[in-house]
Symmetry: C2
Subunit: 210 residues, 2 copies
């Protein structure tokens, strides 16, 4: 919670990657690794790894390297993977339903507690064991069940209004899959995901592969 120096977003965005590589190494039974060896595995410089990790603390040991199990648990803590985040999904279309079934969310501590949609055909049913409510019930539900994160996957037109409703309820974070960008807001942390952006970058690179 208390950050002395501001840690750059570039560093933060690299943390999950360290987290994954350390998880894999740990699962493979490896006990320790040097920044040099990890840098080869990950395709980055050893300098960057040491700089990045030292934003958070001196987790290494000279002449030894990093203990994988303990570094992994440090990074898990920094990323909040050790906590539970109560999460709801708004919009049970294509993407919303896929996320409702995505096992990695609960594995990382993101528990889907409710799903909201306006389609009468699915309201009252369950998706992967989670009840689907009418979107009208959003405020009532969140007032009753403290919610940390809302996953928003609704059409363009509905995005802004729903984002505002969610922010007003005191939800802390918004994971936005809707096709409209949401600008950063003081009340709620927003992470926009645009799958097609990534695909279009791939298309560009295919066409411009030197």
């Amino acid at each position: 919670m208390t950050d002395k120096k501001k840690i750059s977003i570039a560093v933060i965005r690299r943390l999950p990657r360290y987290y994954r590589y350390l998880a894999d190494l740990n699962k493979a039974g490896v006990q320790r690794i040097s920044s040099g060896d990890l840098s080869k595995k990950m395709g980055v410089t050893a300098s960057q790894i040491r700089q990045d990790l030292n934003c958070f603390g001196g987790y290494g040991q000279q002449g030894y390297g990093y203990n994988i199990k303990s570094l992994y648990s440090e990074i898990s803590g920094i990323l909040g993977v050790t906590e539970k985040f109560k999460t709801v999904i708004i919009g049970a279309g294509n993407i919303g339903q896929a996320l409702a079934h995505y096992p990695n969310l609960s594995a990382r501590g993101y528990d889907i507690t409710a799903i909201f949609d306006i389609n009468p055909a699915i309201i009252g049913s369950k998706i992967n064991g989670v009840e689907v409510y009418h979107t009208d019930k959003l405020e009532t539900y969140i007032a009753k069940h403290k919610t940390d994160i809302a996953i928003l996957s609704v059409p363009f037109d509905q995005t802004r209004a729903l984002a505002e409703r969610v922010a007003k309820c005191g939800v802390k974070g918004l994971w936005n899959f809707s096709p409209m960008d949401l600008q950063i807001d003081r009340d709620i942390v927003i992470e926009n995901v645009h799958l097609t952006d990534s695909l279009m970058v791939l298309g560009y690179m295919i066409n411009h592969k030197d």
Copy 2:
């Protein structure tokens, strides 16, 4: 195809965002916009917009700004949205199925022509009108039907082997949703997508919101 100066990846990754904002403005019937006005909408600097666009050409006009329709079509061309990419999905699990139903892919020129999986329960069936083949048939299929892009959404263990098979077939790009990073390869362009990375960044920001 011919790039005089190397255009940085940071610029490329911003292009789809320009593309989306211009599509919205165009749909709203706006005819022209200055870098200053667009910068306010997008939450970036006008300088950056002008620098970015000038990597590709002088699309603006002094005293006037940018014509939205023509800038939109220029960026569409740069990103390759005007072309067709023959695309297959490998792994019809949760994510693979969602992508098979995702309307934005074909809307951007990415036509899903086949789906591959190893689950006998779905082989021979159709998902969103596209036939599901056994993954064994991958090489045969691609030899017969020239394929530009493979979307990979398979478990960790199968990722590397399938990526290599795909590269060997002459597929040009790999959109990788599998939980294993694929290192950049000379033969094939790779774009790794890690949804949970983005979610973990959101979790971090919630916990460290100054």
